[in-house]
Structure formats: structure tokens, C-alpha cells
Amino acid sequence: MGRYFTTLRVFWIASLTAELEYKANFLIELVATAGNLVGSLFVLSLFYGRGQSLGGWSWEAALVVLGVYTLLEGITSTLLQPNLSTIVAHVRTGSLDFVLLKPIDSQFWLSARTFSPWGLPGIVLGAALIGFAAWKAGAIPAPLTLLAAALMLIASLMILYSLWFVLAASSIWFVKIWNATEVLRSVLVAGRFPVSAFPTGLRAFFTFVVPVAFLTTVPAEAILGQASGPWLLAGGAVAMASVAVSRWFWQFALRFYTSASS
């Protein structure tokens, strides 16, 4: 286990040094993230400005959902996107061979090899929005609430990671699958809004097919101290199951990997 932490530190310091060559990107990312947040607030205000609410959520509570979404977006561009987007290239050029030969778990290597600091504005802005909106909504930071919130955020990260990983790992069969993660990204946009704001059919889709509900709505409920037992349990179960599936899926996919030849 200690070996994994040491490797992780080496990996991330190396990629940080490489990325810092492009410092102007930080400014661009900061402006893009802040602009996106302002845009999302504007869209939310289109609904709330008419005195209507989204699925019975108050304005402040809906802001917590948006904060969780922004946080997840930041983590996606920090870890998921830079790492998992390379699986396709590894499969196409056959350099996955070298990854598999390394004396380290291949799923770990592929998922944690690089670290891009450009998602940090999203993480900071998202966390700040969550804190501010939860305070405005009158949430009380009781120990149990904090524990539930932390657990549900971790569960949501586990689900998000598994969705990305399984899609990216499908490139073992379909070399040009990279766009599938774009489809995923575009569907996850629904996570900017509480899931109860959607009509019944879509709500079922976002709970059972693409579990957007567990990505943002359930953690937001936990942060606001409104989480109910069954939803917490379901969130935990979905998270465990999805990580297990991603693990199994990678082993399964590798059986079909035949390397690239000219």
C-alpha cells in the first residue's frame, strides 16, 4: 500500500511540473469555470425568478446541488479526464503492453497516472458554493450530518469514477470510443438540477439508468441534513456495486486485449 502512495506522489509531482509550463491555462480555466457558474446561476434564476421552484427545492438548496456539480466537474478535469482519456491512445498504439508489464496494478496506473491542476478552480468554487448555500439554507453542521455528507460525496465520486472508467475501458473493443465519455458528460449536465425537477420518466432514467441522482441530489440532501436512511443506504450500495463492476469489467476487458500490430 505504501508503495502506491509513493508512486502517486512521484506521478503527480511530475505531471504538475509538466502542466505548469502552460501557466496561462490557469487563467483561462478560472475564467471558464467562473463563467460557467454564472451561466448556471442565470439558468436557475430563469426558473426561480418566476416564483417557481424546481421540484420543491428552495433557491439555496438548489444552489447546493449546483455546488456539488461544480465540485464534481472540477475533479473530473483534475483526475478523470486527463487519465482515462489516454486509455484509447494506449490501446490504439499498443503501448498498453508496457502498462500491463509494470509491477503495479494496471487499473491504478491508468486511473491515477497524471494530475492536472486546471480543475482546481472548479473544486474550490464548488466547495465554496456548497458551504455558502448550505449556510444560507440554514443547514446545521451537526457531526452526523457532516458524516453523512462526507460519505455521500465519496459515494458520488466512486460512482462517477466507475462510469468514466467503464466507458473508457470499452475502448479495448471499440478503439474510437472516446466520444462515449462526451455523451456521458453531456448527460451528466442534468446533475446541475435536483433530480425531482424532472418529469417522472426522466427522473427514473436519471436514478436507475444513469445514476445522476446519486451524483448530486443525494449528496446535496445529505449536506442539508435532509437525507433519509433508505437513500443513504442506496447511495452506498450503488457506489460499492459500481466500483466492483468497474474492477470486474477491467479484468474482463483485458482478456480481449490482443495488442496492436502493424
Binding site: 502552460y22 491555462n25 439558468v43 430563469l46 466520444n179 462526451e182
Partner: protein
Amino acid sequence: MKVAHARRIAAVLLSSQYAYMLEYRAEIVLWALSGVLPFIMLGLWSAVDAGDGLGMSSLQLARYFLAAFVVRQFTIVWVMYTFEEDNLNGRLSPYLLQPLPLVWRYVAAHLSEQATRLPFVAMLVGLFFLLYPAAFWWPSVSAVLLAVLATLAAFALRFLMQFTLTMVCFWSERASALERLLYLPYLYLSGLVAPLALYPEAVRNFAFWTPFPYMIDVPARILAGEPVAVGPSFAAMAAWAAVLLPINLLLWRRGLRHYSAMGA
């Protein structure tokens, strides 16, 4: 003589690019699917108690968002990413040696990609009406023709805009990050997230001073049979093109002078 020659080049470019895009049709289907945003927003808007004050019935909303989806499908521009990749991989130099302005290669690629998308988009539209038969409508022939024209103009304007920004690739290796910034006002002012009719008046007035509403909202409203000031809209698109084109040409010339082929 000259026209015939140009026509032959265009035919060859388009047919070869179309054949190339057909190879990647599965990928293009995925790109088309990633344009689901209008449907997500339709879900949200239709769940809002639409009785009062919205100014649009739920049928009008459904038609608007479907039209916005279709317009978006045929105005997607990705020239910046391809150009950046061609530049970094050293493919740009052989292209530049050809006796054909480079831009036409990318225009042909975009048009062929749209042609590859067409059957799939038609299928999705069919599926939409299957799920929501009440929203079905036949747009008039003149509305369809006008909408096609407006969509083509919107595509041309968006292409011109992104291609102008693409020129930064001559000076920077990571210019495509800039496209993220350009995408922001496009996303929120074009009418993808809501018809501009639902925006507060001040925001709407401001939006129509930018080129973005003409890229989705105007063509989509024409297609959905909503009232649109057609003449002024086309005039505004032409004016924006007249502003962007000289900048584009100037940057292109400056960029070429600065260009020193990437090693491949």
C-alpha cells in the same frame, strides 16, 4: 473554365471527405448523441407549472427545443481541434503546399460530417415524435426552406468565428483552451438552454447585440413556426460576418508568416 474547375475540386473534396466520415459513422453517432442538452432542458421546463406567465405553451416549448436540437446538430463546428492537431502533428505543411486554400478542406470535412449525421438525426426526431406524438407538426415548405438557409448561415458564422480564433494556433500550442471561453457565451446566449423569449428583457436585448442568438434561437424559431424578424436577423448575421472576415484574413496572413513547421 474556372467555375468548372472549382466545381470538380469541390466534388472530389466532398466525396472523399464523405467516404472518410462514413468510416467513422459510429463516432459521429456518439457526437450527435452528446447534443442532448435541449432535451434535458425541455424536461426541466415542461415540469415547471407552465400555466401562467411563461408565455409559451408546453407544445411550443417541445417544438422549440426539438428544433434547437436539430439546428445545433447542423451547426456544430470543431475546426479548431482538428487544426490544432494537424498543426502539432506536422500535417499542416503538406496541406499548405497544395494549390488550394486550406480552409476549404475543413469546410468540406464539416459538411460531409453533417451529411453523415443526417439519417441519425432524422431517426432521433422520429423517436421524439413517437414518445411525444402531441408535439408533431408539419412546418410549411417556406419555413423549412428559410430554416435551412438560416441554419447554413448560422453554421457559416460559427465556423468563421471559430476559425478566426483558430489562428491563435500559429502562436500557441494550446489554443483550443480558448474555445472553452468562446463556448460559454454561445451556450448561455444562443438559446440552447431556454428560448430567448423566456429571458428577462434586459438580457434578451443584450443577447441580440451579440452574434450568438442567430446561431440557435433564430433558426430554431423559424423551424418551429414562431414569429421571427427574418430580414433583420439575416442582416445581423451578414454584418457579423463582415466584421469577422477581414480579421480572419489578416490573422491568417500574419500566422502563415509566423508559421515554422512543427517537427513530426
